[in-house]
Every structure is written in C-alpha cells, then in structure tokens.
Subunit: 341 residues, 2 copies
Amino acid sequence: MILDERKKLILESIIRDYVETAEPVGSRAVVKKHGLKISAATVRNEMSDLEEMGYLEQPHTSAGRIPSQKGFRYYVDCMMEKETLDEKETEFLLHLLDDSFQELNELIQKIGHYLARITNYASFVIVPSINLSKFKYLQLIPIEEGKALLLLVTDLGVVMHRQIEVPGSIKAAELDLIGRVLNQILAGKKLAEVQRGDLQALREELKQRRRVIDRALEAIESLLANSNEERVMISGALNILNEPEFKDVDKLRRILAFLEEESMLKNLLPDNIGNKVDIRIGKENQSQAIQELSLVFSGYQTQGEKGWMGLMGPIRMEYWKAAGSLDSVREIIEEIIKKRF
Amino acid sequence: MILDERKKLILESIIRDYVETAEPVGSRAVVKKHGLKISAATVRNEMSDLEEMGYLEQPHTSAGRIPSQKGFRYYVDCMMEKETLDEKETEFLLHLLDDSFQELNELIQKIGHYLARITNYASFVIVPSINLSKFKYLQLIPIEEGKALLLLVTDLGVVMHRQIEVPGSIKAAELDLIGRVLNQILAGKKLAEVQRGDLQALREELKQRRRVIDRALEAIESLLANSNEERVMISGALNILNEPEFKDVDKLRRILAFLEEESMLKNLLPDNIGNKVDIRIGKENQSQAIQELSLVFSGYQTQGEKGWMGLMGPIRMEYWKAAGSLDSVREIIEEIIKKRF
DNA sequence: ATTAGCACTCAATAGAAGAGAGTGCTAACA
DNA sequence: TGTTAGCACTCTCTTCTATTGAGTGCTAAT
C-alpha cells in the first residue's frame, strides 16, 4: 500500500506526537506542531482516510486519533529512519566495556544494562548456549581426601567446574593421568558432539579407574546439561513502570510475571538468527502475555556464537531509537569480541 | 505496658482480621469473628482505650480501627506465637534441597526462592563474604599460548578462577612450580589475612618469574576484592504487587527501585549476626524507602560463615508465619550444611 | 461494669450539569 | 476538484450534590 506524501507526513506527525505524549492527537495539533501550510479541516479529511485504511483509530468519537498497530507497522516498514547512537554515547559505551570484563557473559550483561539505561525500555539478552563452542581443556584436581575438582574450559575461555567424589586412595598423579586421557579424547570436539558417543567409549577404555571416570563423566554431562540452556538476562524491567499505559497494577502484574519467567522469551524469537533488527508490534507477538508490548531485537554473532539482544517497550515505542541503538551496539560488541578473543 | 486479657484478645482479633482483609475492623466484626460473649458497645469502649494507648488508630471518624505500628510491635513482642513449618512443608523443603546443589550459593538461593514461595512475601538472602573462609588450594593452569588460568579453592569448596597473561615462553612445569610455591605460602590462611603482607613478601621470594607472579597476585587480589562483597539475593519481589496497599504505581516504583538496589539492604541490618528472628516494622526501618514495609529476618551460621535471610512484606504482615518459617528454615539449612560439609 | 439505643460523622457511590476537545458535515471559495 | 471556514454534535472528564451505609461516641438504663 502506497501513501502519498501528505498522508505520510500526517501519519508521522501523529505517531511522533502520540509516542511522546501517550494522548490522542487532534487535527489542530498536527497542523501546529509541524507548521503545515494546510488547514485543520484538510488534515481531518486525510485523517479520516487514514482511519478508513486502518492506520489510525479513534478511542471515541470526539477524541483525536491514535496510530493503530498497522499504522506503526507501516511507519516502521516504509518510513522510519533509525537513530543510531551518537558519538558521545558510542564513546561512553566503549569506555564502559574496555577490558573491564573477564568473560563473555559479563560483557553481554553489561550491554544489557546499558541498552536499558539509554533507551528507558526493558532490555533482554539471550546468551548462546555454550553447546556450540569447542571443548578445549579439562583437568582433574585433587582437593581433599575423597574429593576432586573437574575443571573444563571451552575455546572461548568459559570455565566451568564441578566437584566429584573419588576414592580416598587415589593419588594425585593418577588423577592427573586420567585427566590427560580424557583431554586427549575430547580435545577440539564441539561440546555438543561430546555428548553422543565419546563418553561411552571412554568408559570402556579406562576400566581400571572406573569409579573416578564414571564420576568425571557424570560431572561433564551435568555441566553440559546446565550450559545447554541458553541464558536469558533482562535489565531495566522497572522501566515499564514509567509508561502511562501500565499504571494499572493488573496489567503490570501480567507483564512483570512474564518477564520473570525469562525462559518464555526465547520461544518468541525466530528460529534462525540473522543480524538485522526485527520488530514485533503488540499483537504480532505470539504470547498472549505481551501483546500490549512491542519487541525490537537483533541477533548478534561472534565467531560461531549466536545470540539475541533486544528491547521491550509499550506499543507506543520509539522504534527509531530502539532499532538504531541496537544496530550500533551490535556493531560495537562484535568489534570488541573480534579484537579480544 | 501490660494489657489485660480482654484487651489482648481484642487487639489480636483486630490484627488478625486486618492482616487478612486490609480493611479497618469495626466493633461488630470483632464480636462476630471471635464469637465473644461481650457486646459490640463494650468492645467499642475497649477499642477506644486501645486507641488512646496508641495501639490502634482510626483512618477517619466513622471507620473501624486498624492496628498502629506500635500495636503490631506489641503483638509481636508480647503475644505472638510463631507458626513454624508443618511436617509436609519441612518434608518438601528437605526433598527440594537434597543433594541437588553443588555449592553453598546454590543452596542459599534455593532457600530464598522457597521462602518467597511459601510465604508470598519477598525474600532476601545475604551470602557471607568469602573473606572469612580459609584459603585452601591454588593452581596455575596453562590454557593456551600466553594465557593461564588461576584457580582458587576455599575450604568450604567455593571455587573461583580468573585468567591471567603469562609470557608465551613459560613452560607448564614452571607454572606448576610457581603454583606450588604460592600454595605453600598461602595454605591454611584466612583469605582476609592473605591480603595484608604475604603478597608483598612473595613478590620478593620469586624474583625470577616476576611477571607471572605479579599477574597471579593481581588476580588473587581481584578475586578477593570481588568476593569481599556480601552478595544479596532477592526473590519474589513481585509478590508485593499482590498487596492492596501497593496498588498505587508510585509507591510500587519506590519500593521496587529500592529492591533493585540490592546492596541497600545490608545497611539496614544490625552489625552482629545472632540467630534469633528479628523484626523491623515500618518506620522502625532506617531507610526512608521501605518505611511502608516490614522486615522479618534472622541470621544463620554455618561453621564460621554468617549470613542473613529474611522476608519483606507490608506492615500488615503475617508476622507469625514469617518468623516461624524463618526459624524452621534456618534450622534445616544449618543441619544440611553440617551434614554436607 | 455492661449494654441498648440513637444521633452523628465521614467516605464511598451515583447521578446531574457543565466544560472542553475534537470531529464530521455542509457550503463557500479558488 | 481540492481546500477551507463554520457550526452542530458527540463524548469524555471534571465538578458538584445527594444519598447511602458503616461505624463510632455518648447517654441512660440495667
């Protein structure tokens, strides 16, 4: 559907106004705001057309118009220009992140906080499951009589550990040996592959220390199972308290409850991760619980790892700002990661 | 101040009723509810007395009475009987915790969730700083060209790690040696003590590998600094959305904002940790932000480690249930920890 | 000391009136 | 044919008033 320039102008004007004030916008307001050369009556006619086409709606007869979800959709698809971060913000972000993190997770979490802070929306970040990364290093370390620590490092430097029981009689050197063997067999494999056959094969190979190996393998399995899950992190959930559409406590409860059930989020995102910004407006969301919310999100990709990050706000959302910020931030973190790892 | 039996009965009746309904309680309601043998008029006289004494207050002339904070305080101090967990709940909790945790932190966190769930209040747990626990074991592990992992274990089995840079030329055996030396010097020390002089002394002792050692010591210092902070964990914050006194979004915002600033909490608790349940009602709290909330909390103690756990709810709180639950839960976790570690 | 009776108070609710914002339609104009 | 001014109309929102009802406090009787 193609709109003529004047209709576009009016639609944009109404959207900008409505996003800012959360109030229906009248014809006079449109004229004044943009200093248009046409009269309010003309605008009224156009607005009437736009309503008929489904881009605007009227809360009641004598109110102004508000953009419909379809209106937002049209704006987002055909008219919007993203507002990326300006230099100062970029600078600040870079400064914030500069080697102040030890691990990928930390970085990602900081990004989440930052996004929430500059946009005043709730942000979410979905950290890729470690599953995809490669096994790199493993060691068995005696801690005390009867206990050892299994240490596992992936090639991206994620360290996981777990205590296991071992016979009291076992010697440090022996533990070390077992560790080495495990290491050799697993080295370079993807963690996801490890699960399949190797563990069984290993059990056979090292019969004489069955007990230790069994425990070690259990520990590895358990670590895998744990890290298998993508982690979802939400920041700035309280930002939605500031939106006038959620001054009703019941609505609020529904939404915050949804956010608390973090795992729900990832079901809503598409299966394959690109890295273009995608937008889900209100009812376009699958989940009942957040059909009064909009999602703006983007995949990110870092040498083999893929994850999501995004923003959630009211339907009356500054999509331009949200989408632009995401674009900028994605670029920045991909760059940082490339440099660091 | 001593109240006669009848006044006590009436005060209790009003408190119970008010806690349940959040509505002012009238004289008739008191009589009916408890099937008292006295008339409403008599109750009115008594209520008037109680008000004069400061235990009750009236929102306005023609409303019933509600307990004042002083009233709650009196009840809590002189009349309340704690309601500990019943057998089924205890059973369930034990089952929930039974070896399903790897580390102390995990256990504590689960406890927090459980407390929030059974009481329908927000729970908090403050995990003791690791500072107090003893250094047990340290190892340097080569990961790849130029990078090593410093691994540190405390006697309670908490594992911390951090990557450090090392010269590319260094051999695994050498790293191992350095680790051993560090180990010997630090072994058995309390982590808090480590900070003082040892690190400096060490630097002298191992001049030939200054670079590695410097990095290792930096890492240890940084780990210490990180773990120095007590960690605060809050669960079930959304439970306060259900309380009618917070249906006002502004109040809500203040309180949730306070909860998000988790670190604030520990400033509110007494300096020395006992393990009796303590209660702070409304204005008794130091912090402005939560003077409309009550805190019920208790210390817990596990071989040298001390921490806090507690519940936060409206002033109109089921103190008997909260205090009782805490008592039960504390007993249970202290027992579990004694058994496990 | 207790209680029944009654006048009184005050919040909460409902209804009515008025104000104001904004529209849609009509007729005039370029 | 597109644009505009004018005006009646609609509907929400606010304000004001009346009514209701719960609950009290006081008084007088038991």
